[in-house]
Each structure stands twice: as structure tokens, then as C-alpha cells.
């Protein structure tokens, strides 16, 4: 009988990513409702030392596969290692981060474990002893409640949505052999080109300052960069700005870009087309700056200012700097 709530933690360069603590805390909550234990799977090379940290966030048992073949991430090695640990421990629920890595891995495991996966969830709960996963669909135009009839019941959780809560548990570490010797590696990572700018990815940012066609050109973004620096924010863009070549594709927010959920989203010179709203309407607070009082973005905004952004944004930067010291 499948039992326990497991997570696949995510680390990079030997440090856990924030999503790992969000996963652990969420798993703790579900496990407490079920009266079960929380298990964590940690994969990588040279990661044994950090494994115990997860205990702080409510993990009872940590399974560590420390293997040179687990660095860098490849679908085959990770999927084989998780499959082995799942088969040995038979968890009822298995949670992933809805990150680039988590999405790639979880989807492959849906096939390998012949089960169901609810992706990019914004809430999970227990009803009648089973997991109910709540996820946005049609890019947030509606929400679906997914239940899974096979085991493990799998879900990937959207980063930045679930709180990371300290709740110390044993975090007892067990080393496991990932058993990769016999696994065929179908892909090879030829190169990892790291972005050295230190920019936080939009999907992980707490604050986003976004600009659209109203920025008038690539130069216009300098005032957003300045505001972003003060707020510790990441700069995003509408598709109009990306398609005009003003900003890279990785900056696009929306139904065919990134779906983001920061604490604060500041939309400057963005009209609020349905495809853009789809990507940012789960932000906790939305600010709109637009010179057109009829712009649809105002209908979604918690705070709106009708003005020329080139006058307003520099003033806002000044005021924020004053407040934040």
C-alpha cells in the first residue's frame, strides 16, 4: 500500500534551490493531514553534505543518490534514479518543482511509472485520503481540480506560490545507489552556457518590472532597469516588445511566454491583452502605469497610475530609493 509524501528536491551547484524548501513545506502539510512521513529525494554529484538541510523544512527521511553521472542533469539518469527510489519506497504522493528541470523529469516519470501528473499547480490539498491538485488552465483563464487514480499521485508545484516554513524534523539521510550502471543514456549534455549576469529568472522573481510597446524602443528599458535595481526586481516584457527585438525571448511574459507569480508585478506601457494577462494575473499585487485610462490592464491592477511612464517611472525609482534607503 503506497504511503508517504515524497518530494524530488532540486539543487544547483551544490545548493538547494528555494523551490526545494517550498516542496518540503508543502509535503509536510499534506503528510500531517494524512498522518504520514515526508521523504525527500536528492540527486547530484557531491550533494551528500547538504541533504540534511531539508530536515529543517519538515522532511523526515532524505534519500541521497550521489553519483558523478547525476551532474549535469539529464532526463535518463534522473528518471532512472527517481524510478528506483520510488519503486523501493512506494510513496503515495510525489511532488516536483514546476521548473525547467522538474517539468522535464516529472513528465518522463509519468510514462515510466504509468501514473498521472498535475503540472504547475498553485494549490494542493487532501480530500478523502487523496491528493487534489489545483492548477491553472488556459493560462489562468480557469482552474481545474485534478485527482489521480494511480500511484504515486504526482504534481509539480509552481515556484514562488507555496510558502517555505521552517518545521524541524529528523531529516535522516540514507545513501542510495542510483543503479545507473545499466541505464542507457540517450542524451549527452555537450555544454552548459551559464548566464553570468546574476539576473533572477522571471519565474523565480519576487518582483517583476515589465515593459511593453509603450517603452518605445530598447533604450526605454534603462529606466525600468534602474527601478528594478532598486527593488531587486527582474525586468520582463510583453510580446510586442520581444517581437520588436527590444528584449530577448526569455523575457516574454504571457500565454506563449513565461507564466509568472511574483509578489509584485509592475506593468509599464503594456495595454493588458488577454494573452499578456494570462501570464501574470496570478501575481499577488499588480501595478499598471499607462497613459491610456481605458487600457484593459487597469481592470487587473491593484494600483493604477494614468500617466506618461517616462515621467512616472524615474520618480517612482526615486521614491522607492528613499523608502528603501
Amino acid at each position: 500500500m503506497a504511503k508517504g509524501v515524497f518530494i524530488v528536491a532540486e539543487q544547483r551547484d551544490g545548493a538547494f534551490r528555494k523551490i526545494s524548501f517550498e516542496l518540503a513545506s508543502t509535503a509536510r502539510k499534506l503528510a500531517d493531514e494524512l498522518g504520514d512521513e515526508v521523504g525527500a529525494i536528492v540527486l547530484g554529484s557531491g550533494v551528500e553534505g547538504i541533504a540534511g538541510e531539508l530536515g529543517k523544512y519538515g522532511v523526515d527521511k532524505v534519500f541521497v543518490a550521489d553519483d558523478a553521472a547525476l551532474e549535469p542533469y539529464t532526463t535518463d539518469a534522473y528518471a532512472a534514479a527517481v524510478e528506483k527510489i520510488v519503486k523501493e519506497n512506494d510513496p503515495a504522493i510525489l511532488l516536483f518543482g514546476a521548473t525547467a528541470q522538474g517539468k522535464d523529469l516529472a513528465a518522463r516519470l509519468t510514462g515510466k511509472l504509468a501514473t498521472g501528473l498535475a503540472t504547475d499547480c498553485t494549490d494542493v490539498k487532501i480530500a478523502d485520503g487523496k491528493m487534489v491538485a489545483i492548477r491553472p488552465m488556459y493560462a489562468g483563464k480557469c482552474f481545474g481540480e485534478v485527482v489521480i487514480s494511480a500511484f504515486p499521485q504526482m504534481a509539480s508545484l509552481r515556484p514562488n506560490v507555496f510558502p517555505a516554513v521552517e518545521n524541524a524534523k529528523a531529516g535522516a539521510v540514507t545513501k542510495v545507489d542510483a543503479g545507473l550502471g545499466a541505464v542507457a543514456m540517450k542524451t549527452k549534455v555537450v555544454e552548459v552556457q551559464k548566464d553570468t549576469s546574476g539576473k533572477i529568472d522571471l519565474t523565480e522573481a519576487n518582483v517583476i518590472v515589465s515593459g511593453g510597446r509603450g517603452m518605445g524602443g530598447p533604450e526605454g528599458y534603462s529606466i525600468l532597469e534602474e527601478l528594478a535595481n532598486i527593488l531587486g526586481a527582474t525586468v520582463g516584457a510583453s510580446r510586442a516588445a520581444v517581437d520588436s527585438g527590444w528584449r530577448p525571448q526569455t523575457d516574454q511574459v504571457g500565454q506563449t511566454g513565461k507564466v509568472v507569480s511574483p509578489n509584485l508585478y509592475v506593468a509599464c506601457g503594456i495595454s493588458g491583452a488577454i494573452q499578456h494577462l494570462a501570464g501574470m494575473s496570478s501575481s499577488k499585487y499588480i501595478v499598471a502605469v499607462n497613459k491610456d485610462p481605458e487600457a484593459p490592464i487597469f481592470a487587473k491592477a491593484d494600483y493604477g497610475i494614468v500617466d506618461d511612464l517616462f515621467k512616472l517611472v524615474p520618480e517612482l525609482a526615486k521614491e522607492c530609493k528613499k523608502l528603501l534607503g
Binding site: 501528473l117 500565454q255 520618480e315
Partner: protein, 256 residues
């Protein structure tokens, strides 16, 4: 080269989505259906491979009768033939079931590379292609912005948070398209005329010997939570409005 592109038909991005009062699904009346935008990139890449290596492009779709339009669109862009699994089990099929059907259809034809979209913009689950790859025991190269091939291998660029992975695999492989991979072509008028005569094999799931077995289901659908009405900060001076906003963000919203 035998090239396959999987195409799903989805509501247009402009569509207002209304949940049925009983929460059983969405109200489909008045929806305009289009090819999933990410699948357009997949079809375009398939056509580029055909131009480079020769061979043909097969479009595979699991969906109701209306989904034939998306196959015709792909054929009008230049694909050669289609397989349409038009089966009532589509309704309620989850990602696992969908991938089983696609895998069964693709097994009936030769394939060297299979293109999918990185996700379908309606259900947004982004997992069918990886499950399909697993079922066919193929490498998966997901969410890629570049996919070069020499005919035997494929080398892709996969952006992840804070890095680009350059990954290589031997063909056959499953590749999923992210925006930026290419610029999808439009169907030309002669293309549209020709598409009408191209062969599409319409099948039932049972013809493929596959039973459509879902592992998950959507118990209920709900509209998004309503946002409380916002505040417009009025005034004449940008500086005064900016000061008011900064104060609200700091003291009321507590987000800066």
C-alpha cells in the same frame, strides 16, 4: 527522412474561457479553434528538415472531427499526409492516455524525428511529448529554441533558469518546440488548394489496438478567483503620484 509532427487543436488565445455552471468543463460555444501555437513551430521545423534531408512529413492528431482543420492547416503549410485518431475517448483523456494513442499511431509508420509543441496552451500540461518519448523508448529534448541535425543526430539548445543547455542525441528522438525555434510560415493559397487532396488516414483508437486509459481526471473546473477592485492613484504631478504609490506598496501591500 521520416518526419512526424504532433499537432493539437486548441481554442484561440483570444478566447474568453467560460466554465460550465456545473464545473464539468468549459463552454465551447463561440470558441474559434486553431493549431496550438507551439505546434506551428514544430510543423515549421519538420518542414525545414524535409527541405534539408528530403523525405516526408506526417501530421498526427488525436482529437474530435473539428481537429481535421488543424491537420489541413499543417498540410497547407507543406506537410505531406496526416493521421487523425478521431475517437470519442478524446474527451477526458489525460496526458498518459493521449500519449498512448499517439504512440500507437506513430508505431504504424517509420519515423526518424518527432516534433511536438513544448505545451498545449489549453490544458498547459506540457507532458504528452515526454510520455510519448518514454513509450517509444526515445530520447526527449524538451523546450528547445534550436534543433540542428546532420541526419543522424540532433543537437539542441534548451534554455533553463539561468543557463542554456546544449544537448545532443542520436535520432530517432522527440523534440519539443519553444518560441524562438523558427518563424512558422503561412499557408499559401496553392498550398491550401493542394492540402485538400493530401491523404489523411482517419482511425479509431481500437483500430490501433490501444485502450485509452486515463490515470488522472479533472474532477471540477472553476473560474479564477476574482481580484478585488483596484485603486487609481490620481493627481497632477508624477512625483506626487509616485510617492503615493511607493508608500502604498511599502505600507499597505508590504511588497517592497
Amino acid at each position: 527522412m521520416n518526419i512526424v509532427a504532433c499537432v493539437k487543436q486548441v481554442p484561440d488565445t483570444e478566447a474568453q474561457i467560460k466554465v460550465k455552471p456545473d464545473g464539468s468543463g468549459i463552454d465551447e460555444s463561440g470558441i474559434k479553434w486553431v493549431m496550438n501555437p507551439y505546434d506551428e513551430f514544430g510543423v515549421e521545423e519538420a518542414l525545414k528538415y524535409k527541405e534539408k534531408f528530403g523525405g516526408d512529413v506526417t501530421i498526427v492528431t488525436f482529437g474530435p472531427a473539428r481537429a481535421m482543420e488543424s491537420i489541413r492547416t499543417a498540410l497547407a503549410m507543406g506537410a505531406d499526409k496526416g493521421i487523425h485518431i478521431d475517437d470519442p475517448s478524446y474527451d477526458g483523456a489525460d496526458a498518459y492516455a493521449t500519449a498512448s494513442v499517439l504512440a500507437a499511431a506513430i508505431k504504424t509508420i517509420p519515423y526518424d524525428v518527432i516534433f511536438c509543441g513544448q505545451r498545449a496552451i489549453d490544458d498547459d500540461s506540457g507532458q504528452v511529448a515526454a510520455i510519448l518519448a518514454d513509450m517509444l523508448d526515445l530520447p526527449q529534448l524538451t523546450v528547445v529554441t534550436k534543433a540542428e541535425s546532420d541526419g543522424k543526430t540532433v543537437k539542441v539548445v534548451r534554455p533553463v533558469e539561468g543557463a542554456n543547455f546544449v544537448i545532443e542525441a542520436a535520432l530517432p528522438a522527440v523534440v519539443t518546440a519553444q518560441k524562438g525555434l523558427n518563424e512558422p510560415r503561412y499557408a499559401s493559397l496553392p498550398g491550401i488548394m493542394k492540402a485538400k487532396k493530401k491523404p489523411v488516414d482517419v482511425k479509431k483508437a481500437a483500430d490501433l489496438g490501444v485502450s485509452v486509459e486515463s490515470k488522472s481526471k479533472v474532477a471540477k473546473m472553476v473560474p479564477p478567483p476574482a481580484r478585488p477592485p483596484g485603486k487609481i492613484i490620481s493627481g497632477d504631478e508624477p512625483a506626487a503620484k509616485a510617492a503615493e504609490l511607493a508608500k502604498l506598496l511599502r505600507e499597505e501591500a508590504k511588497v517592497i
